[in-house]
């Protein structure tokens, strides 16, 4: 195996020579319901906790799929309107295409030790991060707390989200 020698020194060093402040807290918003929409937010939340950074996850709109019991392990890759897939739109629209692409990606991710969404959400909750559902979206989709996995700490308003996020960074995905 080849090892790459990474240079991890921060690039932007303030003129004063002071060390840049570290990030102590992040609030991550997951707003999309595709596989590529859900994983980055989960990875960032889990990654924050691994570094000892306080983290909260706020699921809104289709991001609710990640914490909905019946949906979370059925999340698929978007094969249409996703140039990164390198797949012609009409081909991507064929029945089953999204399923096939998701299967292929899931196999690759399992090899890289990516947990399935349900396990990932559980891991993040166990790491001490709060997981919240957006009230406006929950009302819009006609969902209740019962529809969500037990790791969800509550259904909160945007105002409550900002209270939770106070003093930290907000990341929208």
């Amino acid at each position: 195996m080849t090892t790459i020698d990474y240079d991890l020194e921060p690039r932007a060093v303030p003129a004063t020579g002071e060390k840049p402040k570290t990030i102590e807290k992040v609030s991550i918003i997951i707003s999309k319901g595709s596989l590529e929409g859900v994983y980055p937010g989960l990875i960032m939340a889990n990654g924050a906790r691994m570094e000892g950074i306080e983290a909260n996850v706020f699921c809104t709109f289709f991001g609710l799929e990640a914490i909905t019991k019946k949906r979370q392990d059925r999340i698929k890759v978007a094969t249409v309107g996703n140039p990164g897939m390198h797949m012609p739109t009409l081909l991507g629209a064929l029945p089953g295409m999204s399923w096939v692409a998701t299967k292929m990606m899931a196999r690759k991710m399992e090899k890289l030790d990516f947990p399935p969404v349900s396990e990932f959400v559980e891991m993040i909750a166990d790491s001490g991060a709060g997981i919240y559902a957006c009230k406006a979206s929950v009302d819009m989709f006609g969902l209740t707390q019962e529809d969500f996995v037990p790791q969800v700490s509550g259904v909160i308003t945007v105002g409550e989200f900002y209270e939770q996020a106070a003093g930290g960074e907000i990341v929208f995905t």
């Binding site: 570094e51 000892g52 790491s127």
Partner: protein
């Protein structure tokens, strides 16, 4: 200030050992104290040893998911044992490089 146990032990800017061979149990206990863990309990040792063995066997420090599964210590407890990031801190205490996995 360097305490007796850490004299001659080379570490990087974050406090990880540069050479895993310079590690011993006293070094581990001292690095743990620096991180605010006054005493390493058998449960801490279970995690630290697993991290170290996995690194020495594979050349890579395990991720938190692997650590949870392989050590038999649930993720929740890992964070209670090592509050500032279990994989990172257990690697530091175990004298191996910082884990670079994203999961």
């Amino acid at each position: 200030m360097t305490t007796m146990e850490l004299v001659g032990v080379e570490r990087d800017a974050e406090g990880f050992l540069k050479d895993p061979q310079q590690w011993n149990e006293e070094v581990a206990a001292e690095i743990a104290r620096e991180a605010g863990i006054e005493e390493l309990t058998p449960r801490h040792w279970q995690v630290v040893r697993l991290m170290r063995e996995a690194y020495l066997a594979t050349g890579e420090s395990p991720s938190i998911r692997t650590l949870g599964k392989a050590s038999g210590v649930p993720i929740k407890e890992l964070y209670e044992l090592f509050p500032k990031g279990p994989a990172k801190l257990a690697a530091k205490i175990g004298g191996i490089p910082k884990p670079r996995g994203c999961i």
